[in-house]
Structures are given as structure tokens and as C-alpha cells.
């Protein structure tokens, strides 16, 4: 090797952009392999000039690969470093490269799923959904901008980290940092989930437990109000003073439950779903089942 070939920042940026399409040709045989080869094309093009070299490089990168799409970035970085060394004459064979890829993809997928799919997305999603339901267009905008900002920065910096760390990354990543991130994410995730279950699993029991006639003077006596706008004003004043709107004090099953533990029914349904999922019942079946239960309860007039 007369002169050393190096991947420039622009090469790495091209790879970074292409890694966005990693899952595009996801298939049941070798999963992300097509996208992986596609992602590395700018680097391989630069490093290998002969047809034989290019063919061999593409073949070794069309091997099986699958991890979390974002956590693929550090693996891409390491692979870039290894390929660069190899093109410059270092004795790195196909087995080493494939070994690094496979060795890293498992543990990294284990980090990506809880952190991105089960912590960041649900939290951002819930925030955006809350705003959207109240008609606030900022909800989806915030979701889109914040998510993509986090994602793009994450992809770039982990890829660069992998590139610099080269083959040492596998050791680094298995250290305490990875464990901390995973544990921290699951703590935050569980905490938020607790709040979301309370707020968003909405079940209202409609059966009326009691209907007590109130004493005179504790409710607004609509017949005694002055007519017209004056009456409305008077009624509003009385309501603000704490008078009840109706003759009867109605207590529903829901208000009884709320004074005990608000959101209890939702919590129980969540536990039931967890149990069913552990029994390998398909989520689709559970979802359709809950709709059936909902319809039955509505017909029976208890929800």
C-alpha cells in the first residue's frame, strides 16, 4: 500500500444519512442486511477500487444483521474503522468484521428498545397526544421536531464514537455506562407509565349507588329565580357559593371508587392485559376483546 486511504468527514456524513434507510429492505431471511450494505456504499466505494474487492466487500456486508435501527450507528462506526484498516492493509478478515457486527448487535438492541421505543417515544407521544386532543397543533410539531433532533444527533455522535473507538467499542459499551442508561430509562419509563395508566386508561362506571333528596337551601331552587338574564346571574352566584344544581345528591359507583383509589379500574385492566400477554394471548385479540367488552357494558348500561 503506497498511500493510506482515509474516510473523510463528508464520507461519514453520507453514511450517516444513508443509515436513516437501514430498515428499508427489511426481510425475513437476513433482516437488515440490504440496508446495511446500502448504508456502507459511500465508504466501500472510496476504499475499494477493483471489481473483485468491491464484490467481496458487498458480499460480506450482505450477511445477516439486525439490531435496533438507531443503535446500529455505533456498529456502523466501528465497521467503518475496521474496513478502513483493512483497505490499508491490516490483517482483518471477514470473520472478524462479521464477529464484531454480531457481537454488538444483540446487547445494543437490548438498550435501544427500552430507551427509544419504550421510554422516549411513549413520553413524547403522550405529551403530543395530550396537546393534540385539546386541539393544539403544537403537539405533533413538538413530537416531530424533538424526536428527530434526538435521533439525528444520536445517530451521528454514536457513529462517530464507534468510528473513533474502533474495535475497542464492544468492550467499552459492555461496561457500566450501558447498564446505567438501561436502568435509568426503565426507572423513568415505569414512573411515567404509572402516571399514564392513571390518567389515560379511562373507565367510567355509570351505575348510580344512591340518590338522596337534599335539604332545602343546599340546592338551587330554579322555580324561585328571577326571570331572564338576572336569573342566570343569580343561579351562577348560587352555584359558586357551593349550592348543588339538582334536588338530589347522586352518588355513582365511579365517585365511590374515586374516593378510594382514582384510576383503580384502569390499573386492574392494565394488570389483566399484562397477565394475558404473558399467557401469550395476542395483543390484537386483547384489543378486540376489550372493544367487545366495551360494547357489552354500554348495552348493559353499566359504563
Amino acid at each position: 500500500m503506497a498511500e493510506q486511504i482515509h474516510l473523510t468527514k463528508s464520507d461519514r456524513l453520507h453514511v450517516w444519512w444513508r443509515s436513516t434507510f437501514l430498515q428499508g429492505s427489511w426481510n425475513y431471511e437476513r433482516m437488515q442486511n440490504g440496508g446495511w450494505a446500502y448504508t456502507l456504499v459511500p465508504a466501500l466505494k472510496k476504499l475499494y477500487k477493483t471489481k473483485e474487492d468491491r464484490s467481496a466487500a458487498l458480499k460480506r456486508h450482505l450477511e445477516f444483521f439486525n439490531t435496533h435501527p438507531y443503535l446500529a450507528s455505533p456498529v456502523i462506526g466501528v465497521t467503518l474503522a475496521l474496513e478502513e484498516e483493512r483497505a490499508n492493509g491490516a490483517p482483518i478478515d471477514d470473520v472478524t468484521i462479521q464477529g464484531v457486527k454480531v457481537g454488538m448487535m444483540g446487547p445494543l438492541a437490548g438498550v435501544g428498545d427500552p430507551v427509544f421505543w419504550y421510554t422516549v417515544r411513549p413520553i413524547l407521544g403522550a405529551l403530543a397526544a395530550t396537546m393534540a386532543i385539546s386541539g393544539n397543533i403544537l403537539g405533533p410539531i413538538i413530537f416531530f421536531v424533538v424526536w428527530n433532533l434526538i435521533r439525528m444527533l444520536f445517530l451521528w455522535y454514536t457513529q462517530e464514537f464507534g468510528y473513533r473507538a474502533g474495535s475497542r467499542i464492544a468492550d467499552d459499551m459492555s461496561g457500566s455506562l450501558l447498564g446505567d442508561v438501561t436502568k435509568g430509562a426503565s426507572i423513568l419509563g415505569m414512573f411515567i407509565l404509572g402516571a399514564l395508566v392513571e390518567r389515560w386508561v379511562s373507565v367510567k362506571w355509570t351505575p348510580v349507588v344512591s340518590n338522596i333528596k337534599q335539604q332545602a337551601g343546599t340546592y338551587i331552587d330554579w322555580n324561585k329565580l328571577p326571570s331572564g338574564a338576572k336569573g342566570i346571574q343569580k343561579a351562577l352566584e348560587q352555584q359558586q357559593a357551593g349550592l348543588s344544581l339538582t334536588h338530589y345528591k347522586q352518588t355513582t359507583l365511579q365517585s365511590n371508587l374515586d374516593s378510594l383509589i382514582p384510576g383503580l379500574t384502569g390499573l386492574l385492566i392494565t394488570f389483566l392485559c399484562m397477565w394475558l400477554l404473558k399467557k401469550k394471548v395476542s395483543p390484537i385479540v386483547i384489543i378486540l376483546g376489550l372493544f367487545v367488552v366495551g360494547i357489552l357494558c354500554r348495552v348493559a348500561n353499566i359504563m
Binding site: N27, R54, L127, G139, D180, G189, E198, F291
Partner: protein, 271 residues
């Protein structure tokens, strides 16, 4: 309401992007809160679609592509239900019926996803041949074709619903009796739990359950916004991680705190 030509094209483009993202999982165009909003935007019915997107987002919370498993298809569910909502022309009142339709659509979408992922197996075999020739251009080309297949996966069903037109869709929605739409609303309140249950099953360990309980209790305080809850949760996680390192040493990991295993006792002893 019926859509004009430009609106139909725009809806199809949104559907195409949602389909691509359903597999790429990068820009998140397929998330209901984005996809429904975009359809609302291009059809001029932003308000109701925004609400639909928000409610579907809560249901789709735990739907994630993990490993080789495919989640219920948020892309088809959001795009198709938003189109039905728009064509139905009922505005916000149509939202719960549209959500009721979204769930079976998510299941149908699952079949389409499986189909496309199987077809793509053929695509990577063509890539193998391209690799044999050392042709980068062909690798690129077939990667783009595979992505487009995923886009069409949503765009074609969306086109079909548009082709059927507003009339039949509206008739179908009108034919739904009140007990059905009411029941779907009740069911919709409960199905959110399935997504949460999936996530909890994934993350729960004995160690993190107390944080769920704290979250549940604080959730009842409606004055605390989600951002506030996020800040509390993040702080708790950082405090926990920091404390579990203090005095723990490398030998005791399980219970977090080291020493005698009784931190309160240690403090009392120190006095």
C-alpha cells in the same frame, strides 16, 4: 365531503411516507399524531384529525417493531381512519367511530407488512447478484425499490378507500347504531391499557416497580403536567443510580445500597 384532485394526490403522498416510515422507524411519519394531522392538514380538516391522531397515539403507545416481530400497523390505522373521518364529514363526532375502525385496519396492516417483508426477501437475493457484479448502483436501486414497496403498502389501500368515495363511507358510518359507537368509545378508553401492558411487561423488574407506584399516585394530581412528571421521573432515576453506587462497591448490586444492607440503620449507627 369529497376531495379535489390535488387533495387526493397529497393524501396519497402522506400515505406513501407513512408506509415508508412504518418500516424505517426514523422520522416517525407513521405515528398517528403525525400521520392523522398531516392528512387533516392537506384535506382542510385539521381540527378533527388532530384529535383523532392524539387519541390513536395513546392507543398505539406500545406498538413497536421489536426484533423480527411486527407491531400492529400504526401507519395503516392512522392513515385509513383519518381518510374515513374526513370523507365521513362528521367532524369531531366521527372520531370515536374512526378509532373503532382503526383497530381492525391495524390488524389488516399487519398482514400487508408481513407480505411486503416476504417479497423483500426476493429483493435481497437480487442484491446478492448485484454484489457478485460489484455494482453499487444496483444495490442502491433495489434498496429504493424495497422502500417504495413499503410506501405502496399504505398508499394503495388509501387510494382504494378514496376510490370508494365519500358516499359509501358515510353510509357505513351512519349505519352504525348508537350502542356501537358508544361501546367503541368505552372500549377505546380501555384498549390504551394493552399498549401500556406491553411496555410494562418489557421493562418491569422487582427493582423498578416502586417507581410505577409513585408515578401512579402522582398521576392523580392533575396539576402536574406530563413535563413536570418527566422531570420528577428523571430526577428519581438519577438519584437512584447515584445512590446505588454510593457505598455499594462492586460486590453488592442487587439491593442497591451496600454496607450492612440497612441504610437507615447505618445512619443511626453513625450518630
Amino acid at each position: 365531503m369529497s376531495l379535489n384532485f390535488i387533495q387526493i394526490i397529497l393524501v396519497l403522498i402522506v400515505a406513501f411516507f407513512a408506509g415508508m416510515e412504518g418500516i424505517l422507524d426514523e422520522f416517525e411519519f407513521h405515528q398517528p399524531v403525525i400521520a392523522c394531522t398531516l392528512i387533516g392538514l392537506v384535506t382542510g380538516t385539521l381540527g378533527p384529525c388532530l384529535v383523532l391522531g392524539g387519541q390513536l397515539q395513546l392507543i398505539a403507545m406500545g406498538w413497536a417493531n421489536i426484533g423480527a416481530a411486527v407491531a400492529p400497523d400504526a401507519a395503516l390505522a392512522s392513515v385509513a381512519s383519518a381518510i374515513i373521518l374526513v370523507l365521513g364529514g362528521k367532524g369531531q363526532e366521527g372520531v370515536s367511530a374512526a378509532i373503532g375502525l382503526a383497530i381492525p385496519l391495524a390488524v389488516a396492516g399487519l398482514l400487508l407488512t408481513t407480505l411486503v417483508r416476504t417479497i423483500t426477501t426476493g429483493v435481497v437475493h437480487i442484491m446478492d447478484k448485484a454484489a457478485e457484479e460489484g455494482s453499487f448502483a444496483k444495490i442502491d436501486l433495489w434498496q429504493y425499490i424495497a422502500i417504495c414497496l413499503q410506501g405502496l403498502r399504505i398508499a394503495i389501500p388509501a387510494g382504494l378507500i378514496l376510490a370508494v368515495g365519500a358516499g359509501p363511507v358515510k353510509a357505513m358510518l351512519d349505519a352504525m347504531p348508537a350502542w356501537l359507537t358508544g361501546g367503541l368509545t368505552v372500549g377505546g378508553g380501555m384498549v390504551v391499557a394493552v399498549g401500556y401492558a406491553m411496555v410494562i411487561n418489557m421493562m418491569a423488574t422487582r427493582e423498578v416497580w416502586p417507581f410505577f407506584a409513585i408515578g401512579f399516585v402522582l398521576g392523580t394530581v392533575s396539576e402536574i403536567t406530563l413535563i413536570g412528571l418527566g422531570a420528577i421521573g428523571l430526577s428519581l432515576a438519577m438519584i437512584y443510580l447515584a445512590l446505588s453506587k454510593v457505598g455499594g462497591g462492586s460486590s453488592s448490586n442487587g439491593s442497591g445500597n451496600g454496607g450492612s444492607g440497612d441504610p437507615v440503620g447505618d445512619i443511626i449507627d453513625n450518630y
